[in-house]
């Protein structure tokens, strides 16, 4: 069983490493991530939100839907642990 688990881990890791070969080089200005919305955020986010920190502007405003459900996921995790583990005194 342990050998099987090790085999599965190694195969999955090899597939993931193989997938990284198709990544764009780090900092490549022509990569898809840099050509679509990044330029818009860099040019307009301070003017549109008045937040000097670009990361906060993207996290809280442009990608607010994503951050909202990140919070809800953390909240659900805490709620599940409380429901399963906590025993009240009375």
């Amino acid at each position: 069983m342990k050998a099987l688990a090790l085999f599965a881990t190694l195969v999955t890791g090899a597939i993931l490493l193989y997938g990284t070969q198709d990544f764009a080089p780090w900092g490549d200005p022509a990569s898809p991530a840099s050509t679509r919305v990044s330029a818009y955020y860099i040019e307009n986010s301070v003017r549109e939100t008045h937040v000097p920190n670009l990361v906060t502007a993207v996290l809280g405003d442009y990608r607010g839907y994503d951050t909202m459900f990140e919070t809800v996921v953390i909240y659900c995790a805490g709620l599940a642990v409380i429901c399963i583990l906590r025993r009240t005194k009375e």
């Binding site: 920190n53 906060t56 809280g60 919070t71 953390i74 909240y75 642990v81």
Partner: protein, 159 residues
């Protein structure tokens, strides 16, 4: 190694004077830094998640240096659950209010209908409100995860 194990079993580390005093000095500064990280997220690295983790870690340090009962005295379990709910509600509520006053869901500039300041300033302010909600939720969830897992759900004694 054997001595260390004996001391851990007799909880000598938990009652150590140095650990207690240094934790008592450190906790207020950790909490102040957590608030700073939340509030200053507009201008420097940080925000709700990081600041909330710092605030939760300060109470976890209390629970580790003293015991779980002490941290429950400073932050009761019911208050903790209340803050967790409040944090999640602040975020989703802000988003919903944006939709109710006539804008898009999560479009903070629509809140200018409630309080007439510049819509762009509202976007900045909306991010801040939302970060506070995230900070509250993350703080209480971090703490309750530690409480429940370390005490097996009984909330009587921790590690």
């Amino acid at each position: 190694m054997k001595i260390i194990r004996q001391r851990v079993e007799q909880r000598e580390f938990g009652d150590n004077l140095i650990i207690r005093v240094s934790a008592r000095i450190l906790v207020p500064f950790i909490q102040l830094f957590g608030l700073y990280v939340i509030v200053h997220g507009h201008y420097s690295p940080g925000g709700g998640f990081q600041g909330g983790v710092l605030l939760g870690a300060s109470f976890i340090l209390l629970a580790l240096a003293f015991d779980l009962k002490t941290s429950l005295q400073f932050f009761p379990a019911r208050t903790n659950v209340f803050f967790g709910n409040l944090g999640a509600l602040i975020y989703t509520g802000t988003a919903l209010v944006c939709a109710l006053v006539g804008g898009l869901f999560l479009d903070y500039s629509a809140l200018a209908a409630l309080l007439p300041i510049d819509p762009i300033e509202w976007r900045s302010l909306g991010i801040f409100i939302v970060e506070v909600g995230v900070g509250l939720a993350v703080m209480s969830i971090m703490l309750s995860l530690y409480w429940d897992i370390s005490s097996n759900g009984d909330l009587d004694e921790g590690l």
